[in-house]
C-alpha cells in the first residue's frame, strides 16, 4: 500500500475542505477502499477519516412520513432496525444479501453507495482499464466478461455496479443529501451513478470534496411494504456479488396493481430502474403473462457486451420471479437465505 497522510476532522465543514484537496479520499469503514489501496488500484495521498463526525449515525423518521438515515449507519444496523425493515422490507433484504456479516457490521450506508465495480480487469493493475486509467483501453471487452453489463455499457467500459442496497433504493426514489463546497444539495440515487459513455472514470455526480451525509426515503416508499422483495442470483449460495438481481415493489388494491416499482442490479454501471415496465404493470392484474410482458419491456434495449447474452434472459426471468414473490406478499421475516432463489417455500434444499 502506498503511504498516505491521515486526518480526522471534527466537523463536516472541515472534512469537506480537507477532502477537496487533490489526492484526497474519504475513509469510513474502509471495507472497499482499503482493499483497493492494498491492490494499488486506489492510491490516495490523504485519507480524510469521517468515522467520528457527529450526527451522521442516526435513523430518524421525518415529519412528512419519510425516513432519514445518516451516512455512517452501518449496513447491519439498518437492516436489523425493526421499524425500517417493516417499512422497507426489500431494502433490508437487499442489505442482508450483500457481502458477509463481518463486512455488513462495518460497512456504512454512504460507503455502500460509493463502492467501486468488482470488474476483475479494474482490480488487476496489469490489465488495461479505462476506468482506472483513462485512455488505457478495456481488457474486459475481449476478456472474461460473462458477468459484465448488458445495459447502458459503452466501448470504453462494460463494468457493472456491485451494490445490492442501491437497487431497491433506486426503485423507491431514495435521495442522498450531499455536503460540498457550495453547501448542501439533494441528489436522487438514480442520478448519483453515471453510465460510462466515453468517461468511465467519472462514476458519480459527486464533485471533489462532496460528502454524502444522509440518505432519505420518501413517505410513498413505505406504501409498498406489503409486496416488496429483492431477488439475487449468485454463483454461490451466499457471499457473492449478483449475476443479476431485481427489486420489485407493488401496491395491490382489489386484486389490481395500482403502482409498480422495478429495478435491476448487476446489469449496468448503475442500478437500473425499469420505468417502462412499471407503466405497463400499473392497472394490470398480477399474473405471469403481464409479468413476462413487463420483463420483455424492461430488457428491450439490452445487448450482450461479450459472453453474457444469457444475462438478458436471466434478467427477464428474475424480474418475473421477483414480481411473482412480491405479489405473493412480503414474508413476516427476511428469509434464512436473504434474496436467494433457493430459499422459497417449505422443504427448500439445504445443499444447493
Amino acid at each position: 500500500m502506498k503511504t498516505f497522510d491521515y486526518v480526522r476532522p471534527t466537523s463536516i465543514t472541515a472534512a469537506v475542505a480537507a477532502a477537496a484537496e487533490p489526492g484526497s479520499a474519504y475513509l469510513a469503514a474502509g471495507t472497499n477502499l482499503l482493499d483497493l489501496m492494498k491492490g494499488g488500484i486506489s492510491r490516495p495521498d490523504r485519507l480524510v477519516d469521517v468515522t467520528r463526525l457527529p450526527g451522521l449515525d442516526g435513523i430518524e423518521p421525518l415529519p412528512d412520513g419519510g425516513i432519514r438515515i445518516g451516512a455512517l449507519v452501518r449496513n447491519a444496523d439498518l437492516a436489523h432496525d425493526p421499524e425500517f425493515a417493516r417499512a422497507y422490507p426489500a431494502v433490508a433484504e437487499a442489505l442482508l444479501s450483500g457481502a458477509s456479516a463481518q463486512l455488513r457490521n462495518a460497512a456504512t450506508v454512504g460507503g455502500n453507495l460509493l463502492q467501486r465495480t468488482r470488474c476483475g480487469y479494474f482490480y488487476d493493475v496489469a490489465s488495461a482499464c479505462n476506468k482506472r486509467e483513462p485512455g488505457a483501453g478495456c481488457d474486459a471487452r475481449n476478456g472474461e466478461n460473462r458477468l459484465h453489463a448488458v445495459l447502458g455499457w459503452s466501448e470504453s467500459c462494460i463494468a457493472t455496479h456491485p451494490s445490492d442496497f442501491c437497487v431497491p433504493l433506486v426503485a423507491l426514489d431514495a435521495v442522498v443529501e450531499v455536503e460540498g463546497a457550495g453547501g448542501r444539495r439533494d441528489i436522487p440515487v438514480e442520478a448519483l451513478h453515471r453510465l460510462p459513455g466515453t468517461t468511465p472514470e467519472q462514476e458519480s455526480a459527486l464533485q471533489p470534496g462532496d460528502l454524502i451525509v444522509a440518505l432519505r426515503l420518501p413517505a410513498e416508499a413505505a406504501a409498498f411494504s406489503a409486496h416488496s422483495r429483492y431477488l439475487k442470483v449468485r454463483e454461490r449460495t451466499s457471499y457473492a456479488f449478483a449475476v443479476v438481481s431485481a427489486a420489485a415493489a407493488l401496491r395491490i388494491e382489489g386484486g389490481t396493481i395500482r403502482t409498480a416499482r422495478l429495478a435491476l442490479g448487476g446489469v449496468a454501471a448503475k442500478p437500473w430502474r425499469a420505468r417502462s415496465a412499471e407503466d405497463l404493470l400499473a392497472g394490470a392484474r398480477p399474473d405471469e403473462a403481464v409479468f413476462r410482458r413487463a420483463a420483455e419491456t424492461a430488457l428491450a434495449d439490452a445487448r450482450p457486451s461479450g459472453d453474457n447474452a444469457f444475462k438478458i434472459e436471466l434478467a427477464r426471468r428474475i424480474l418475473v420471479r421477483a414480481l411473482t414473490v412480491a405479489a405473493a406478499g412480503t414474508p413476516e421475516r427476511v428469509p434464512a437465505l436473504p434474496a436467494s432463489p433457493f430459499s422459497f417455500g417449505p422443504g427448500a434444499r439445504h445443499d444447493v
Binding site: G30, L34, K38, A101, S238, A336, H350
Partner: protein, 165 residues
C-alpha cells in the same frame, strides 16, 4: 508522522505509537502486540480468518485501519477462555470436529461468538450457515462448524436463562 493510539485488547489497555497510518488492526494485533491467534489469510476481507470483535461486533481486522479505531475495545481469540476453561464455542468446535488444519478456526470461533451475540440466527442451521458465510474453511469442516455453533448457541442460551433466574 507518528500516530499515538490507545486500544483495549482482551481487557488490557495498550498505548501504541504507529509510524504509519497504513497499519491495519490485524497487523497491529499480530506484529505489535504479539497476538498471533488472529490469522492473516487473504488480507482482503474475503476469507474471515482475521475476524475479531470490535466494540462487541465481528469485523474483518484486515480491512480496518488501526488509527481509525483509536479507543476501541477489541476481543481476540486469546481473550475468550477463562483461564483453563474454554469458551463454550471453543469447546463445541472440539466436540464436533469443527476444524481440521485449524488455520481458519480462530476466525470461525470469533465469528460464531459474534453471530450468537447478534441473536439473528437462533437454532436454524440455514441461518447459521448464512451467518457464517464470511468464514472460509479450506478443509471444508462446515458441517462440524454448523453443529458446533448450534450446540454453543443452545448452551449459551441455557446459561443466559440460568444467570437471569
Amino acid at each position: 508522522m507518528n500516530f499515538a493510539i490507545s486500544l483495549t485488547v482482551n481487557g488490557v489497555r495498550h498505548d501504541v505509537e504507529l509510524e504509519s497510518p497504513r497499519v491495519t488492526l490485524l497487523d497491529l494485533l499480530r506484529e505489535r502486540l504479539d497476538l498471533t491467534g488472529t490469522k492473516k489469510g487473504c488480507d482482503r476481507g474475503q476469507c474471515g480468518a482475521c475476524t475479531v470483535l470490535v466494540d462487541g461486533r465481528r469485523i474483518n481486522s484486515c480491512l480496518a485501519l488501526a488509527v481509525s479505531h483509536d479507543g476501541a475495545d477489541v476481543l481476540t481469540i486469546e481473550g475468550v477462555a477463562r483461564g483453563d476453561q474454554l469458551h463454550p464455542v471453543q469447546a463445541a468446535f472440539i466436540a464436533h470436529d469443527g476444524f481440521q488444519c485449524g488455520f481458519c478456526t480462530p476466525g470461525q470461533i470469533m465469528s460464531a461468538i459474534g453471530l450468537i451475540q447478534e441473536g439473528q440466527a437462533g437454532d436454524d442451521p440455514e441461518r447459521i450457515r448464512e451467518g457464517m458465510s464470511g468464514n472460509l474453511c479450506r478443509c471444508a469442516a462446515y458441517s462440524g462448524i454448523t453443529e458446533a455453533v448450534l450446540e454453543a448457541q443452545k448452551k449459551l442460551a441455557e446459561t443466559g436463562r440460568r444467570d437471569a433466574a
